[in-house]
Symmetry: C2
Subunit: 325 residues, 2 copies
């Protein structure tokens, strides 16, 4: 594989080259990993940055429709949009290769949009590490906005927040006065809460839900990285496209303020350190994947479960083996 050539094609925004590069970073082969690292190093020199938007929402809130409408609005403004996913359920089932594209039919056919489903790996950590690199590839290809979507299950949001510049939570109008069981930790990550389906019969319920969340956000501790009025709850309709322009305007206001006040840079620096730590732990633990080590682990597990060796002593045995191999 010619990394210089692939790099040039990505910088020229060839979508096939981008897709191929993402496949490369997702590969679990050691030689592919070396190539992926070299490619990412080369592309980092171009120093291109997109606005990275994390978007979370449980199934049923209309996430795909929102991404399609929002993405088409952005491409209509001449912006280039990439959509990536961190989907732990798809990771479990081995990934749905076509699922994400068929859900967003119009956006998928837009020449200024690029849609890529979640990498199919067994661990959320692995999915997130590779998605972060896919985001970097999209930035190098000149995409202006990268949307990283995930399902509202907790840990994947934390990972997506460590990839993105801002985090939006998409909700459906709720019946009662309950806050739909949104976990506090996820609320605390949100920069924007978007109450979707604010159209037709749902509009009054959406207004009520929006007002409930606005109240809840006001009760939360002020974060240094927020200008006055943020985090913010607002209504949108992916169906009628009402509110989408305003949502985008709010994202820009927030982003401009954070850039001007140093938070954009400091957040990206913090995130880079976070991923360095993640990569380091992962690479270190990957040493246990060696087949000979695995065989010894299986043998020692048996002894440990028979109580003929303590867990700590068994661990020391493996560590000593790693030292002398």
């Amino acid at each position: 594989m010619d990394i210089a050539d692939l790099s040039a094609r990505i910088l020229a925004c060839e979508r096939r080259a981008l897709a191929r590069a993402i496949t490369l970073v997702e590969s679990q082969r050691a030689d592919h990993r070396d190539l992926a690292n070299a490619l990412l190093e080369t592309l980092a020199k171009a120093n291109r940055q997109a606005l990275r938007i994390g978007l979370s929402g449980t199934p049923g809130v209309g996430k795909s429709t929102f991404i399609e409408s929002f993405g088409l609005m952005l491409t209509a403004q001449g912006l280039k949009v990439a959509v990536l996913a961190v989907d732990p359920s798809s990771a479990r089932t081995g990934g749905s290769i076509l699922g994400d594209k068929t859900r967003m039919d119009l956006l998928a056919r837009d020449p200024n949009a690029f849609i890529r489903p979640s990498p199919s790996q067994t661990h959320l950590g692995g999915v997130a590490r590779r998605t972060r690199e896919a985001v970097a590839l999209c930035e190098a290809a000149g995409y202006d906005v990268v949307l990283v979507e995930t399902v509202g299950v907790g840990q994947s949001e934390t990972m997506v927040a460590e990839i993105c510049d801002l985090f939006a939570l998409l909700l459906a109008p709720a019946g009662g006065d309950e806050l739909q069981g949104v976990k506090r930790g996820i609320m605390e990550m949100a920069d924007l809460i978007l109450v979707n389906k604010a159209d037709g019969d749902f509009k009054p319920a959406a207004a009520r839900t929006c007002s409930d969340y606005a109240g809840a956000l006001r009760l939360m501790r002020k974060r240094p990285q927020d200008p006055q009025g943020f985090p913010k709850a607002m209504m949108v309709s992916a169906l009628t496209r009402d509110g989408l322009k305003d949502a985008w305007a709010q994202m820009q206001t927030l982003t401009d303020w954070r850039r001007d006040n140093g938070f954009w840079t400091s957040r990206r620096a913090d995130q880079a350190r976070f991923w360095f730590d993640q990569e380091l732990r992962h690479a270190l633990l990957a040493r246990l994947d060696d087949p000979a080590i695995q065989a010894q682990i299986t043998d020692l597990s048996q002894q440990v479960s028979n109580n003929t060796i303590t867990p700590a002593a068994a661990a020391s045995t493996i560590l000593a083996r790693l030292d002398h191999s």
Copy 2:
């Protein structure tokens, strides 16, 4: 330190020797770790087993009073009781050395009881690893029952369940019909739900709470490791000591059934394998604690945050360094 002598004194149930051995397993010094491993290996040969009871309950449910009353009831029957703690908050503050003993004044002065506060380490994983070894030391010293208490915050319960043979959840009577926000995951771990304070004015509320939980338990999926009627909700009063004998009888019924049906042995074997995995990961990651490596990590973190090296490439640099050191 003479491990053979210390081992003999522990087997003779000298409390000072036991306390000293627990301090040894809690030490973070590498030479102490080697001694601790040698001691645990020696003591494992005695193959003594206690009934390990995990006990969780949020502050205010009367956990200390319950442990004192329950412990005194057991010692009055001629049983030897050890009380250990996995307390993530104490881990955060550096540990309260006398706290646990002063809370359980009568039990602490009982010659057949041994009380030890939570080890003061920064990570829950470290606290739990060392507590598991302290439990093994108490078993070698001939304690019949080892109570491992923790506060109801989620992850520490999972750790305690991986140490114990059975898991009891202590609750206070609730006002309404709400299930006190007990997390589903914790409910699913419980073998016994003990509604405390079933005395005086609280008795009707305790009966209602007990019945609510009994209903919730019936709705849960049947677990293979449970005999008919388990998991079970029951009322106790740590104050009047009502229900404590019955709670103990239920624990014995459950334990006898599990022993007879192979679940005691298989659970201990599973737990040993779990802790082998934990020890192995911890020991491997501990290689990054070397001062020279830490210095290089700090340097690379700076470069990573300046975007002059990618996180994956920085991680590869450290890994290569570990290989050649």
